[in-house]
């Protein structure tokens, strides 16, 4: 029997987690659907002349994803905040890796898929209703004249009408979400109480520290100038010649590696840290 990972044991854990939490999860999903429904209705009531535009769809999806996803993540290891539940959790004969992967399956994969499905399930009819309402109001207002543009359901993962060469910012948002959610997963193991608030404060402090590092410390070490097209090229001026700046460009591959690092490594780093924190957790 493998002491680090055994698929059969992990699957038992996944099933057990579902049976113990199915009622709570189902109710939460109904609540999310209800909130989305209420929000879209509120927008339609607020401005019945315009259908729900892509910006609003995008904003709603990511706002909900960030808030609910991080809240869910911060509750993921809530058992460890209670002595009785923590003993039950840590004494369960499964490895730390299996416990973490089970938690990641529900919080990262299942939550994301189900949240997206519910979003579209609510959004599809709401866009149709919004179009119909807006069209009716528009017709009355314009005396059946003018051009009315119906809203379409957007793909929240692909930036609409993206010019060639412009990166897909929506994908960046998604990657940022996974990184921040991973920080909340770590926070749920790291902090015993008020882990959501403590994680928020920690993230703010970390961002402030990074801003200070880049803005103040690095800036004081560099010659007078600015970053130019990313952080691997730097434009600076010599001998007070503010008109003819020089650009120092690091090799292009460094830019690529840095982008990949920032986009894809934060979440795994937090997951791995969570694993080690779980291993050293004492109750």
């Amino acid at each position: 029997m493998n002491q680090s990972f055994d698929f059969g044991r992990w699957w038992l854990l996944v099933k057990k987690h579902w049976y113990e939490n199915q009622r709570k999860y189902t109710l939460s999903l109904v609540a999310i659907a209800g909130l989305l429904l209420a929000w879209f209705t509120f927008i339609m009531v607020l401005n019945p002349y315009e259908p729900i535009d892509p910006g609003m769809q995008f904003g709603t999806y990511y706002f909900g994803l960030f808030i609910v996803g991080c809240l869910f993540a911060s509750l993921l290891f809530a058992d460890l905040s209670s002595t009785s539940k923590g003993i039950n959790y840590l004494s369960m004969p499964a490895s730390h890796l299996e416990k973490l992967l089970c938690a990641l399956l529900y919080s990262v994969v299942v939550f994301f898929v189900v949240y997206s499905a519910i979003f579209y399930l609510v959004e599809l009819p709401m866009i149709k209703i919004s179009n119909a309402i807006a069209h009716t109001h528009w017709s009355k207002l314009m005396y059946k004249s003018g051009n009315f543009h119906e809203a379409e359901v957007i793909n929240v993962f692909v930036m609409p009408n993206r010019p060639a060469g412009v990166p897909n910012i929506f994908f960046y948002f998604l990657m940022t979400y996974f990184a921040i959610q991973a920080a909340f997963i770590l926070g749920s193991v790291y902090f015993r109480k008020f882990n959501f608030i403590k994680t928020v404060i920690s993230l703010i402090l970390a961002c402030a520290f990074l801003a200070f590092l880049v803005g103040q410390l690095f800036h004081s070490l560099m010659p007078s100038g600015n970053y130019y097209h990313g952080i691997t090229s730097y434009s600076f001026f010599t001998n007070d010649d503010y008109e003819n700046g020089k650009i120092v460009q690091l090799p292009e591959w460094i830019d690529g590696v840095l982008k990949l690092f920032i986009m894809y490594t934060f979440a795994p780093i937090f997951w791995v840290t969570t694993y080690f924190r779980l291993k050293e957790k004492e109750i």
């Binding site: 029997m1 057990k16 049976y19 002595t83 539940k85 003993i87 004494s91 490895s95 004492e282 109750i283």
Partner: protein
């Protein structure tokens, strides 16, 4: 089975153990006695891998408990004082928890649950604290874990259930199993344990088998003032003076665990001297 050497443990700056050493063998039911806050639960959690020693060695069944490997967790079952069971039907609990214990015996679980007067088709959500505790004890016994650790298991049990508990536990012991019961309700363990370990302020004050205690000490009621004066420990009661004295005639008396516990706490060195002589 359990080998604890020079265990040091503290909660932040409050030291609990300063060099505790203890060996526990299979085939015994150990009674771990002590006042509240003396480190009984901490010791059990160190054995179960829920707390890690600051210094020293804890080895259980050849495993380092702190690693919490699945093979170790399958063989060590802890019934904590503060326990948690999910609000699911009893059958669901067995269906989804039992597969983690390869030696789990469902029939035995149902037998124990029935003996404790718990309906098999019941739901944990609707059960009282005592009923849930009986379910957890039944589950622990049915898991066939080699090491059963129980922290105040009789807390919350009614009189009938306590008696049932003693009966079930006595029937459960075999040569491969080691049962450690921690409690401050010493009366509940009488006729059950075969070794008494008293812990106080993080130290082992007393550690003897019930057989040895019976051979060395005599527990009885006395009305003789001289005998009371010469005893190792005495306390007056409605029936006379309950005393502990040296067993000089070789006749074994019924162990009064509560009296022994008080004697060790109040007059430890004198009682210990009987065993070291």
């Amino acid at each position: 089975m359990i080998n604890i050497q020079n265990l040091h443990f503290s909660y932040r700056k409050k030291p609990i153990f300063k060099g505790l050493s203890l060996q526990l063998q299979p085939g015994h039911i150990y009674g771990l006695l002590g006042k509240n806050g003396t480190g009984k639960s901490t010791l059990l959690r160190n054995i179960a891998g829920l707390l890690f020693p600051d210094k020293g060695k804890v080895e259980v069944l050849g495993f380092v408990p702190g690693l919490r490997q699945p093979a170790f967790l399958q063989q060590v079952f802890l019934v904590p004082e503060e326990f948690y069971l999910p609000d699911v039907p009893l059958q669901h609990l067995v269906d989804h928890h039992a597969p983690f214990y390869p030696l789990f015996d469902r029939k035995r679980f149902e037998k124990y649950v029935t003996e404790f007067d718990i309906p098999l088709d019941g739901t944990l959500q609707k059960m009282s604290y005592g009923q849930k505790k009986k379910v957890l004890i039944s589950f622990g016994l049915a898991s066939n874990a080699s090491m059963l650790l129980m922290d105040e298991p009789t807390n919350g049990l009614d009189i009938m259930s306590k008696s049932q508990f003693r009966k079930v536990m006595a029937a459960e012991l075999n040569d491969q199993k080691c049962i450690v019961i921690s409690t401050h309700q010493v009366k509940d363990l009488e006729n059950l344990i075969d070794r008494v370990t008293i812990i106080d302020e993080g130290k082992i004050l007393f550690d003897q088998t019930v057989d040895t205690i019976g051979k060395k000490l005599s527990f009885r009621i006395s009305f003789d003032a001289d005998e009371v004066k010469q005893s190792l420990y005495s306390e007056s009661s409605l029936r006379g003076n309950a005393i502990i004295s040296r067993n000089t005639d070789g006749e074994e008396s019924k162990l009064d665990l509560e009296l022994l516990y008080k004697a060790i706490i109040v007059n430890g060195p004198l009682v210990q001297s009987v065993f070291t002589a």
